[in-house]
């Protein structure tokens, strides 16, 4: 089994186990306020990190290219309250145009 398959199946298995666990354990075991606080912050940290890494790194090196311009445009679109799709497409179009120049 290659590593992509391992990624697909491992992610799927754990994702389901986490969901099912929530439905199966009594609520009183998981209401620690610290855990709940950290849990709402984890997606913020991980997703932000993914934005950073995918925008200006490539194979472990810092690379400034058309992606940065695309993400900057996405940031502007978001601050103008554009819908998700407009955000993604505007980033793609910006990056594609610069790439082809």
């Amino acid at each position: 089994m290659n590593s992509l398959w391992l990624g697909v199946l491992g992610t799927s298995l754990i994702a389901f186990m986490l969901k099912f666990l929530g439905h199966s354990i009594p609520e009183k075991y998981l209401t620690n306020p610290r855990m709940l606080r950290i849990n709402t912050l984890i997606p913020i940290a991980l997703l932000s990190a993914l934005v950073g890494v995918q925008t200006i790194t490539e194979k472990g090196r810092w690379v400034i290219d058309q992606r940065l311009a695309g993400v900057a445009v996405a940031l502007i679109a978001l601050s103008l309250k554009a819908p998700y799709f407009v955000v993604v497409i505007s980033a793609a179009v910006t990056s594609a145009v610069l790439y082809r120049l």
Binding site: G22, L50, G70
Partner: protein, 219 residues
């Protein structure tokens, strides 16, 4: 049947399902096959985790760091399950199905119906859960086929569309200064660590940042 609940469920399902196109395209751009892409949507069925596994492995990270990142993002679904279980009160196969469709949107719509009573909450959960499932998987396939037809991801801007998709996911969560500081710190930390430790690990490292930020209660 609550009509307002049904309308809300369907509109949420369709809009969220549309993002499946972005995932399908991102996954192909990251080097996953169409079958693997569709299986991620069918089996993992949790947008942020799916983007994370293809994001980390697409950037050269190994399977373990990809799975770890995706799973950290999946913990919240467990907490949603905890919230939904006493409302749904299901067992056996039904519980398995309920668990699979326990995501941001199904839980969100269900909780939004609180003032209409338990039945409306249940209806909101199931309709949104199934609705998102159907649209998300359909649009994933569409996005995957589209991306494969396009060829070079950079030429179509897919290389920027993926981080922009993450940005769009995190944006609604940045509700205050505290959250924005955390986000900015995470970006800087992950970028700074990238040349030093192997791909995927810089992202997981920022989970510790979340632990540090959330450790103490804020006033």
């Amino acid at each position: 049947m609550f009509r307002a609940t049904a309308t809300q469920s369907l509109s949420v399902s369709f809009t969220v399902g549309l993002y499946g196109t972005a995932f399908g395209a991102a996954s192909i751009a990251a080097g996953f096959s169409i079958l693997q892409t569709c299986l991620l949507s069918l089996l993992t069925f949790s947008g942020a985790s799916q983007f994370a596994i293809v994001g980390v492995m697409g950037a050269g990270g190994n399977a373990l760091s990809g799975i770890a990142t995706a799973s950290l993002l999946g913990i919240r679904n467990g907490l949603y399950g905890l919230r939904m279980a006493p409302i749904l009160k299901v067992r056996g196969v039904k519980r398995v199905i309920a668990a699979q469709v326990t995501i941001d949107e199904s839980t969100g719509v269900a909780i939004g119906q609180e003032n209409l009573g338990l039945d409306a909450m249940k209806q909101g959960f199931w309709l949104t859960g199934f609705g998102v499932y159907i649209f998300w998987n359909f649009f994933t396939l569409l996005g995957a086929l589209g991306a494969q037809a396009m060829g070079n991801p950079s030429a179509w801007g897919l290389d920027a569309a993926v981080p922009a998709a993450f940005l769009g996911l995190v944006w609604p969560r940045l509700t205050g200064k505290f959250e924005r500081v955390l986000a900015a710190t995470a970006v800087i930390l992950a970028i700074a660590l990238s040349p030093i430790i192997s791909a995927g690990l810089p992202i997981i490292a920022t989970a510790l940042l979340a632990v540090a930020f959330g450790w103490k209660e804020r006033r």
